[in-house]
């Protein structure tokens, strides 16, 4: 267990360094983009080793305790962000928004107990992996959208002006952010379908309005609303940015709040 935690700490330090470099580069109007990506990639490799060691030791993946869920989500969110960072240069300055959000999750992770939890028999199914994978891609793409939206809001607030001037205009950034929302919407829909299939097999019903299902559906509706609103009412980029932030907050609370304040079966208690 010691080596797992040591590797985790090392990964978190590398991520923190990447986040600090991103913030510092915005303040100083520098562009150490390759360095930030390298720090994230090395951190991801070390973090993957930590997760792998724990998986091997306890016999199941990081799906049960808050420690495991936060750790695996920090990893998966950074994988998605690193992919976007690599493929879409306009996303790179968004590290200044994305990394602080992840640093908050990392701080929360360090406050949770690394003790193991009970792995319910209903979790022994391939649908767990399918459901989790789609959920992680959904949250990751929404996080990237939040990062890009944050750049719009920073520019309006007059922060990091020197660094942000070289970015595309707000309309293009807003379009980019909504592209990630749309991709996220596809994966959220897939997550709900996979979850329903799993629930049918595990609990004998595909939908029962338990708190997590209710809030996941409310999040899905919020994305539908946001996408429709953007088409129906011509939103200004700043308004779109705020809307995307609201979507992320709801999705984040659904992922990390509801399962741990509710005693309903979805928590994995059965």
């Amino acid at each position: 267990m010691t080596s797992e935690l040591q590797l985790l700490w090392l990964a978190l330090m590398l991520y923190t360094l990447a986040g600090s470099t991103a913030i510092g580069s915005m303040v100083l109007a520098k562009r150490p983009e390759q360095l930030i990506l390298a720090l994230i990639m090395v951190g991801l490799a070390v973090h993957a080793a930590s997760i792998g060691l724990r998986w091997e030791r306890i016999g199941h993946g990081p799906f049960i305790t808050m420690f495991e869920i936060l750790s695996s989500n920090v990893w998966s969110l950074l994988v998605i962000y690193a992919l976007a960072y690599w493929r879409v240069p306009a996303v790179r300055p968004a590290a200044v928004v994305v990394m602080p959000i992840l640093l908050i999750m990392m701080a929360w992770l360090l406050l949770t107990s690394p003790a193991t939890g009970h792995f319910p028999p209903t979790y022994r199914t391939v649908w767990l992996y399918v459901h989790m994978l789609f959920g992680k891609i959904f949250l990751g793409t929404v996080l990237v959208a939040v990062g890009v939206s944050g750049l719009i809001l920073l520019r309006h607030a007059g922060l990091g002006a020197a660094s942000l001037t070289r970015l595309p205009d707000d309309v293009r950034l807003e379009d980019l952010a909504f592209r990630f929302i749309m991709v996220g919407f596809i994966f959220e829909s897939l997550m709900l379908v996979a979850g329903a299939i799993w629930a049918q097999d595990a609990w004998g019903r595909y939908w029962a309005w338990d708190p997590l299902e209710t809030w996941a559906f409310a999040t899905w509706l919020t994305l539908v609303f946001g996408i429709h609103l953007r088409v129906t009412v011509k939103l200004r980029p700043r308004q779109s940015a705020v809307l995307i932030m609201a979507m992320f907050v709801l999705a984040f609370l659904t992922f990390f709040g509801v399962p741990f304040v509710s005693t309903a079966p979805h928590k994995g208690a059965v």
Binding site: P121, R179, S189, Q200, G204, Y206, V224, T232
Partner: protein, 340 residues
Amino acid sequence: MSVSEAKAGAAGTPIASAAAAWLKRLASPRLTLVMLIALGAGVLAYDPDAGARVWLLVAPLFLGALNLSAAMFVSPVFRRQTALFTFHLALLAVVLLVAMGRLTYLQGELELAEGEAFSGELTRIERGPWHRSRLERAQFVNDGFTIRYEKGVRRAETRNGVRWLDDAGREQHAVIGDNEPLVRQGYRFYTSFNKGFAPVFVWHPADGSAPRRGTIHLPSYPIHEYRQALDWTLPGTQVALWTMLQFDEVLLDPEQVSQFRLPETHTLVVRFGATRHELTPGASLTLAQGVLEYERLSTWMGYTVFYDWTLPWLFVACMLAIASLAWHFWNKFAAQPWDR
């Protein structure tokens, strides 16, 4: 009828004109937004235990279905974009299938002792108004179960043997449990956490009529570990008995991995009026109405049953909706690069 025909008709008669105007209003994207807000509020306010509030979901979904149907009929956007049209059509199909599912579904619970055949009787039932029961044709026999417990008496795998006769009259066997239901006649039978001990009795009535073998299902174990007692009435009589299972063994040790099993030794305490009797397997209790023979201790398993014929169609409609939306987005994104 196309929009141009509708317009031509609208120009022709005042009724058609009014209908076209209404259709256009009904198809409004702003109405979609209102419907989404109402549905969101309904989702958060809906309480599945208070069925009367189901209108909170049904009303906005009905409005949404009307809005969507009208939009697909009048909006030129849908005619230009096949993928978007397919997505919304599939979404409409999902709503209709869910509605059909709620009208024809069945959900219930049943309990079977080891060796007992399911006869179609449920202990709890909830069903849609259009459900036509075929439960009596979904027979199977509970052949007993094994349940492993991890340290701390945490339930791990459940394995329940079942058998049934197929349509050709051949005996079939399967092991169900956890994520694997038994599917018979479209009904899906799932093992549940609800299971326990079942004393087997033979009742020999004093009037000389045929003896009857049966079981009583003691409260679920280990949840009700310290409440293994039950009030029940002898069949065909008014004789009320109180029965309690008594044993000293620790069956599920919290300190180690264990398995659900019968106690090696036990007694059954039977109270009849003011008298108390302790029975071991094979012992009998003589009453004025007949003789109660305690045969042995067995187990019972609680099952949940679910029927919804729409499930495969719902899956197809959902996947069609998601695939067509992905296709629509792909076309949209391919038109302009991501990093302009």
